[in-house]
Structures are given as C-alpha cells and as structure tokens.
C-alpha cells in the first residue's frame, strides 16, 4: 500500500476525455500534483495546464510519477492498467466503470507480481484531506482533515457519510472507495491492515453493501488479529431483493450469500458498532470516541 505524499507527481490516463480533463483540473485545484497526462496519439497537447504524453513510460520518464489515475473507457482499461504497471507505476487508481471481471483478475495478478497497489475499479478513488491530496473524483466539500479512516464500497454513500462525519467534528485522515465491482484491486482487509499501522488514524469506519463476503472476511480479520482501533460500520441493502444486481456489478445476493443480515451479524460478532442508517454514524462515534 503505497500512497503518494504531498507534492509527489501523479499522472492521469485518459486525460483528454471529458471526464478525465474535468477531474484532472479538480484534483489540481485541490492540491494534487498532476504532473502529466496520457492519451495515445495526443502527445504535445496540454489539458488543464498539464502536458500530455502518448504513453505511460514517456510520462513516467518525464515526471518520475509512481501513481496513476485511470479514466479510460472499460474496453481499454486492461491495456491502460497493464501499460501503467509495466512502466513502473506502483499505485493505480481505477475510476473506470463496467470493467469485465476477467480483465480485473488479470490486473490484480499483474499488480501482485510487481508489488503494486490497485484501488478500484469502479471507485471514486482516495482522498487524504489533511494532505490536501486527492486521486479521484470525490467532491472535496464533504471532507475535512481529521483522524478517521473511511473505507467504502460505494461512492455517493462515502460522500454522504464523510459529510455527516465532517459536520459532526470527525474529520478524516483518509477516505477511500474500495470499488463497486465483484473484484477489488485492493480489499477492505488490506486497507484495514494499512490503517492499523498509522499513527494518524484513531478509528475506522467501513461502509459495506450487499453482495460477496468482504464484510464477513473483514469481521474475521478484526477478530483474529485483535484489530486495535475502534471500528464502526454501515451496510446498505437490507431491503434489497435476491438475485438482482443493484446498480453496482458487485451488489447482488445469490441465495443466502451476500445478504446485509449476514454482514451485520458478522460485524456485530467482531465487536464492530453497526449503524442502521448513514445518519446514525456520527452519533455512534460520539458515544464511543473522543473528538
């Protein structure tokens, strides 16, 4: 888990697209050093004041960047991520939605073999409010500097919950979207492991949803490793029907696999405080933490 520090160069793949250029500009505005952009065939152009290169290797050579935020459309995601990883990028933030499962699996495997970290795909990215650093698309107004680590499978719920935390005096050291797909480049457990060792994090909030078993795995990790910091959680989808994909590719219950009930029960048995609505989270923190 290698996150950039303030001022570290970051590149944006797909920077000449509508979405890529909008968010490259917003990231810069917040304080991220967007040092270069990449779009094949567009070398020499400048977008939001950022120089564009044909390939990631060129951009890395020119800037020394070790992080890349990817905005390319799903059919081109695999090639873009492979190009980044093979050019020495150690942190890929994959904003791209609708990536095929088998492409995600290939990227996970390549990243693992190269010791790189992938956030997403289908993620709003990561924001470090105390460093004024964001690699992603989240609206910065929801976030305030502080000591909470917020990890979420959903984007808008992350914004909403961050907003609630911020207005109640609980700022965030980090807020990160795991991604809404069945396969995540990095998992809840891996990010908890990161948060465990951080002196600037005093509590963790996990936002889960129906589908898969990442919450159950997280609960098991918390119990087995005696996770030393207070953990709070919210799980969306108690009212969701079975066998229906609810917006996110990963948000689907098969039989009894992936229900909110199972996740909430797992969290509770691991000693995690579970909120029943997003607005309950700040009160739950207030009752259990000093600000």
């Amino acid at each position: 888990m290698i996150l950039p520090e303030k001022g570290d160069p970051v590149i944006v793949q797909g920077i000449t697209g509508k979405y890529g250029s909008l968010h490259a500009g917003l990231m810069k505005q917040y304080g991220t050093n967007v040092a270069a952009g990449v779009t094949p065939g567009k070398a020499g152009e400048t977008v939001v004041g950022v120089k564009v290169y044909d390939g990631v290797a060129d951009a890395v050579r020119a800037t020394g960047a070790r992080s890349s935020v990817i905005f390319v459309p799903a059919p081109r995601f695999l090639a873009a991520a492979e190009e980044a990883l093979n050019a020495g990028i150690k942190l890929v933030v994959a904003i791209t939605e609708h990536v095929p499962i088998r492409d995600e699996l290939q990227v996970v495997e390549l990243a693992r073999s190269l010791g790189a970290t992938v956030i997403g795909p289908n993620t709003p990215g990561v924001i470090l409010p105390s460093k004024l650093l964001k690699l992603g698309i989240m609206p910065v107004t929801s976030f305030r500097p502080g000591r909470i680590a917020l990890f979420s499978r959903s984007g808008t719920l992350m914004y909403e919950i961050a907003h609630q935390l911020s207005t109640s005096g609980f700022g965030q050291a980090i807020a990160l979207g795991i991604g809404g797909d069945p396969i995540n480049g990095s998992t809840m457990v891996e990010w908890f492991e990161w948060a465990r060792a951080r002196d600037d994090v005093s509590a963790v909030v996990a936002v889960g949803e129906i589908g898969g078993d990442s919450e159950e795995r997280l609960a098991q990790y918390i119990t087995e490793t005696r996770f030393p910091k207070p953990v709070f959680a919210y799980v969306a989808g108690r009212a969701a029907p079975r066998e229906k994909r609810m917006g996110h590719a990963g948000a689907i219950i098969y039989g009894n696999y992936g229900t909110a009930e199972s996740k909430i029960a797992a969290f509770r048995s691991a000693g995690v405080k579970v909120a029943m609505t997003p607005t309950e989270i700040p009160a739950l923190l207030s009752a259990n933490l000093r600000k």
């Binding site: 959903s154 898969g212 078993d213 066998e243 917006g247 039989g255």
Partner: protein, 365 residues
Amino acid sequence: MRLFEYQGKDLLRRYGVPTPVSVTVRGPEEVDAALEKVGLPVVIKSQVLAGGRGKAGGVVVAKTMEEAREAASRIMELRIGGEKPSALLLEKATPHGEEMYLSVTLDRGKRCFVVIGGRLGGVDVESMQGKVIEPVPIGGLGRPLAEPMAAEMGLTGEQGEQLVSIAMDLERLSREEECELVEVNPLAMAEDGTLVALDSKVILDDNALFRHPEFSQLPPEDPLEGEASKEGFAFVRLEGDLAVVGNGAGLVLSTLDLVTDAGGRPACFLDLGGGSQRERVEAALRVVKRLPNARNVLVNIFGGITRASDVAEGLKNVVGEGGMQPVFARLSGAEEERARAILEGTPVKLYETAQEAVRAAVSAA
C-alpha cells in the same frame, strides 16, 4: 445477464458437454413436431428464470403424446414467480441414478474463478456437503488440476475420465464466453454410466458483453430494464408503490432501506449514476412515469459531481410534460440553492433531509 436453460444447454453442447436430446418450442402447436425428434417419455420444462420451477409445477414428465400436449398447453400459461414462460424445453427423459453438481464460478474472496464439484447434486451449493473446490489459474483448468479433483470426488475409471473432460469443457466455456457462473445441477449418472447435464444455469458477465455481440442481441429480461441500461442508468423493478430514485448505487440501496424501515414499499431501484446530466435525469424520470405500480416518487440526491441544479432542471421538465406521479425530493450538495429556485412553483415537494423526504413519501402512499 442470466440465460434461459435452453440457451445455456446450447452453449454446453457447443463446448462438448453431454446433454439429453431436446427441442425448444414457442407454443403448444410446435409440440407434435418436437416430439418426433425427442421421443417419449419426455420432460417438459418451463423456460423461466425464476427459481422453484419444479415445485411450482413447471417441470412435468409425459409418457404419451396426449399427456405431452396437455402438459405443454398448461405450462405455457403457468406463471412462476410472476413470470410467464416465453418457451418450453422438450427433453428426452434420462433415467438416472446418482445426481452430482458441477460449476465454474467467481470466488470474490479469493479473487479467482473456481470449479466446484460435489456428489450430492439437486441441492443448493451453499448447503452441499463434501464439495471439492479447485481454484482456476488465469490460463485455464488443465488436466493436472482436473484429475485430482475427480479423484477427490471419488470418481475413478471411465467416470473419472468423463468428469475431467466435462470440468475442462465447462471451464473453457466459462472463460471463452466470459461467464460469471456456469452451473450444471444436476449432473446425472445415466443408467448406462455416462454423465449427462440435466439442467443449466449460466450468468454472463454483463460488462464483457461488448466482446460477445451474439449475446448482446438477446432481448433484456425486462423491457424497462433494457431501456434503462441503454440510457446509462441502473433500474431494477420492485413490487411496491414508491419509486426510489437517487445518484449512486449505495445511496439508492440505503434509501430503499429507509423506505422499508418507515413502512413503505419500493416500486423500483433507480440509480442515475455519478455525474448525472440533465438528459439522463429526464430519461430516468420518464421510465418511472411509465412504471405502472409507482404511485409516488422519492428522489434522493447527494450532489457532489452531480449538480443538484441539473437534477432540478430535469425534474421540472418532466413534471411539466404532465402525467408524472407526485414527487418528494431531497436534493443536497452542489448548487442546492439554485435547485430550490428552479423547482419553485412546481408540484415537486422538497425536503432538507433524506429522512424527512422518506417520511413524507411513505405517508402519501
């Protein structure tokens, strides 16, 4: 996308997995011709995606032509889980002994595909005892992995060899057609000792359909859901009377929970997606307008990149076209003030918090 049994079996056959002789018919008038090819006794199977098909009377064995005609007419009209079949599968009955289980599925925790085999088919895989699970490398399931699997399942000799070959065929199908799940349950041991796939459940990876144009031609399970995916938003039809619209899958899921907790019943899940433009908001609201069971509409927007004012413009336009159900909305975030001004004088009711909007919408129902 989930395939019907007959579509799944066509795929199984194409990849060399043994299946009984069968013919798909679209109506009772095609039954006689189909029986000539299939023979008697025949199993007549309703082609619906809903579960519990056998218990609901959607699978019938017929011994004579008359029985077959009568059963076909009846099943064609039988709704299962609210779903009427678009076709029937007429399949040669396969007298068999043991029923086994075999599937290739995504293991989300391990982040790889796995082959799952078991000797006790016919039951739910979760509750299945003594199942064997083999992770599949990205390159595919080779013989060196399939053989120990058959042995672990206690299948030796000719049957072990058959299982190895079926497992490898299923895995190749799953990989080449990019399926999330390929399941054969039951995989039956016919009286002559051969293994035969008696049912099929195939779920395609929707995100990979652009590489498989033959599947993207298939009609969507629900016409409104198909229209929604073309317009770029996610829509799931539900059974209640309050349409739930929002931006972001997690936020809409959470809004469904709030509605249900307040005693309401959602009529749909509609996620506008991130960075919603006015046009998409309008297309989405027009889908809601045509949803017959929706008597009221709840809109919950947490605007960040999505501007509340864009949503408000879209709302105003669609409400202005007439025929829109009463709308209860919470529009927070970027350009909230402008959104308020835009909606002034329209029948759209605005609330400060999601809870307030939910309460009002539920009590209106």
